[in-house]
Amino acid sequence: MGSRALINRKSHTMNQLPEHRLTHLKQLEAESIHIIREVAAEFDNPVMLYSIGKDSSVMLHLARKAFYPGKPPFPLLHVDTTWKFKEMIQFRDRMAEEAGMDLIVHINQEGVDMGIGPFSHGSAKHTDVMKTQSLKQALDKYQFDAAFGGARRDEEKSRAKERVFSFRDKHHRWDPKNQRPELWNTYNTRVDKGESIRVFPLSNWTELDIWQYIHLEQIPIVPLYFSAVRPVVERDGMLIMVDDERLPLADGEVPMMKPIRFRTLGCYPLTGAVESQADTLPEIIQEMLLTTTSERQGRAIDHDSAGSMEQKKMEGYF
């Protein structure tokens, strides 16, 4: 009774939320925690795919919140293509330790034996073998029946229709024409043996929400997101950081030292840097908001065609 009276007395000052109202970030947080707990309660063997990027950092943070004061009751899985930035790997190990969670690192050994890499085989082949196939191998090996991923619906058109609980058949395939209807926050968690669900607790977050939340919650992220002077070379119009000696340099080519940072993180040869002075979160957010190109432009994988992400998803790419 008392609560209703308070609601009716609420103020209308702009952006001063009345009592018993959540800000959009608190509401998104509550919804994500609900999703994460639902998986822990309903599945036998869930796993959290941890890509070390900013979205994964938020997802891990939410998982820790969901089970506080306990630890999240599932392991982290990193599919390592062996071409990630060194700082990402260091950060990954530190975060897993801090969260007190088991970390499974999976590398496609067949791919390594065949010498698959982005320079020798191109981005498409490299991504398919070392990421998509590798992920399937790991899911098969450990028999996970649910896997959290940090994808957001605002990232790309084909993701706009993705469910929060997205069914995958025995071959990890996504069938966009045969998705389960998803109503309210009531999720259908039933799968048969061998089948699985990909779960996206950040579905309704936007890029700005992610950054704002990292800022508010002081969530650690890989330092590569902040500007620093780093060695880079230009390849196909992208600034590529020279993270190790595997990057082929032309005769006499000397990497440039530039103040750069990254908007997304992946395999270093496939991830374009942006020239930037932004070395605080508000500056990063400011830069993002003033930028006029969409986020995924920094990734080589989407450049092929508008439908390419949809095709990759159907093949089992996250």
Binding site: R4, E29, H34, A41, K157, A160, N185, T186, T206, L289
Partner: protein, 552 residues
């Protein structure tokens, strides 16, 4: 991404502060292919500066190739989705879009409006605070307008915004707008929509979408965006009655036992007396635990962890309520059902019903009537197909707290899952028990018709004679068949020699009678000697014959 604001460049901290305190509004756009729905969404994104330059360049490019708007940039191309749909030129699923203004963050559930997509619309509507109903100004209120409005009302969306679109094609006529507004209000009377707004717009030209229209000086109301930013949604949630479905029991060590969950209704504070359902045991809330520290209160829709003063047995699926407001649990309740599967409903068949955190075996024990989504007319039916809506009775194997959907969205809604295919086959909204209480209708003759009984049992009352076998075989076939029919949710009974005089009254009760007596009174006679195969195969064949005779 977010809207453009001068603050971003001049004072990012102030901008972040503003953005941090925004409210979230989810809305649904209902319209058919030709109503300009995608164009409207594209316009909202475009005019609120939500489109990046590379995206705009891409659609300018595409507009020349596949656009349908001539000179104008085809904003609909911004929101087209998957490849298959792009090729067909229609959207076929629910797509979610995101944008924000200085006041609110918005999530759009973009759903197709055709009748064959009722399921998608219901899905999109389930999470929304507001619905935009698009009407083509040239055509006025159409069959599809009724359908959209009915689904909006059925899914309990609290606010409706009727956008009369394509005003540019009716010379921006005030008279035409007023006429459509009156037509809509007239027809919407019976739907129980509480808060209806109207706006005359042109999504293509941009009139009254975000910016006020210069072409309609006679219109002094809010633009569509202004309504989206200002509509009051604070009072929509139920803070009067606590519903805390226990989602997960957190026991990290012997000293801590917490109950994790999302408040679907109400407010809870430490010290509150709470009762656990279904056990009925009571305790006091000791603390509200979160990663960010203990809270003095929690309210819907927060996700928290509660600890109690007493050690009582609580597990997932239980629900915590205030001890002074304990609702009843039910294993039989009425509900509206939207059927979502290509496989029709089999009345009486066992499904899994997921209601908040409970998963309970149950069935649709009766279909009271189907509801035509276009005319709202009710008619009797024995089954439900894809996209059909009906009022039904649900029967569960164990009782649960099933609240009136209008009062408690979280504990008043459920999905039905096929236990064999694992598909989500239906969504349901509970019709509160209170609705009927105190209004018992009196009868002095039987109001139960043969049809009503037939619907309840999913069968026609009939006498089926299975003769021509020896008594051992007859025993096996009769009782196996009886068991099979019963397992399907039917009401069969076996009558042996000497019991047939009861046949008429048992038929009047709606039962399906099976006998091995060869009698002229039989509605269906089957010669058992005509069957072959194992007894199990023969029973299968009998089931087919009974179905072919339209008895089940």
């Amino acid at each position: 991404m977010s809207h453009q604001s001068d603050l971003i460049a001049t004072d990012i901290d102030a901008y972040l502060d503003q953005h941090e305190n925004k409210e979230l509004l989810r809305f649904l756009t209902c319209g058919s292919v030709d109503d300009g729905k995608s164009t409207l969404i594209g316009r909202l994104l475009h005019d609120s500066k939500m489109i990046y330059e590379d995206q705009l360049a891409a659609i300018q490019n595409d507009s020349k190739k596949v656009g349908t708007t001539g000179e104008e940039v085809d904003l609909a191309l911004l929101v087209d989705g998957l490849q298959a749909e792009r090729e067909q030129g229609i959207t076929i699923d629910v797509a979610y879009r995101y944008f924000s203004t200085s006041k609110r963050k918005f999530i759009i559930a973009d759903t197709p409006g055709h009748e064959q997509y009722t399921r998608n619309m219901a899905t999109g509507a389930s999470t929304c605070d507001l619905a935009i109903i698009l009407i083509d100004a040239r055509h006025g209120v159409q069959v599809q307008t009724r359908r959209h409005s009915f689904i909006v009302s059925l899914l309990g969306i609290k606010h409706t915004l009727v956008a009369v679109n394509k005003m540019d094609l009716v010379d921006y006529s005030e008279g035409r707008f007023e006429e459509i507004k009156q037509d809509y209000l007239e027809f919407a009377k019976g739907l129980g929509l509480k808060d209806i707004h109207f706006a005359p717009i042109s999504a293509l030209k941009g009139d009254n979408v975000v910016n006020p229209s210069e072409n309609m000086p006679w219109y002094t109301g809010e633009s569509l965006m202004e309504t989206l930013e200002n509509v009051e949604i604070a009072g929509d949630a139920n803070f009067d009655e606590l519903r805390f479905p226990v989602q997960y029991v957190n026991r990290p060590n012997l000293n801590f036992r917490g109950y994790c969950g999302t408040l679907s209704s109400g407010v809870v504070r430490p010290g509150d007396e709470v009762t656990v359902l279904p056990s009925g045991k009571s305790s006091k809330v000791k603390s509200i635990v979160t990663f960010d520290g203990e809270l003095a209160e929690a309210f819907a829709p927060m996700s928290v962890t509660l600890t109690l003063e007493d050690e009582i047995d609580i597990s997932r699926g239980d629900i915590l309520v205030h001890s002074h407001q304990v609702p009843e649990s039910h294993n039989r309740f009425n509900a509206h059902l939207v059927w979502m599967s290509e496989q029709p409903l089999q009345a009486g068949r066992n499904y899994e019903i997921k209601l908040s955190t409970t998963r309970t075996p149950g069935r649709v024990s009766a279909i009271h009537h189907a509801i035509d989504v276009n005319t709202l007319q009710q008619s009797p039916t024995a089954s439900l197909g894809l996209n059909e809506i009906a009022q039904v009775e649900i029967q569960l194997e164990t009782p649960v707290v099933a609240d009136d959907y209008k009062r408690h969205k979280g504990t008043g809604s459920f999905i039905i899952v096929d236990r064999l295919t694992n598909a989500t086959v239906a969504a349901g909204m509970v019709i509160g028990q209170d609705a009927d209480a105190g209004s018992i209708e009196l009868h002095n003759t039987s109001a139960l018709t043969t049809e009503a009984r037939a619907r309840r049992f999913g069968q026609q009352a009939a006498l089926v004679s299975l003769s021509g076998a020896d008594s051992t075989t007859a025993d096996t076939l009769l009782y196996t068949l009886e068991q099979q029919l019963f397992a399907q949710g039917r009401m069969p009974i076996v009558l042996r020699e000497g019991q047939l005089e009861q046949a008429e009254s048992l038929k009047a009760a709606g039962l399906l009678l099976l006998t091995d007596v060869d009698t002229a009174a039989a509605d269906l006679s089957i010669d058992l000697s005509s069957l072959s195969g194992t007894p199990a195969e023969q029973v299968q064949e009998l089931l087919v014959k009974i179905r072919q005779a339209d008895l089940i």
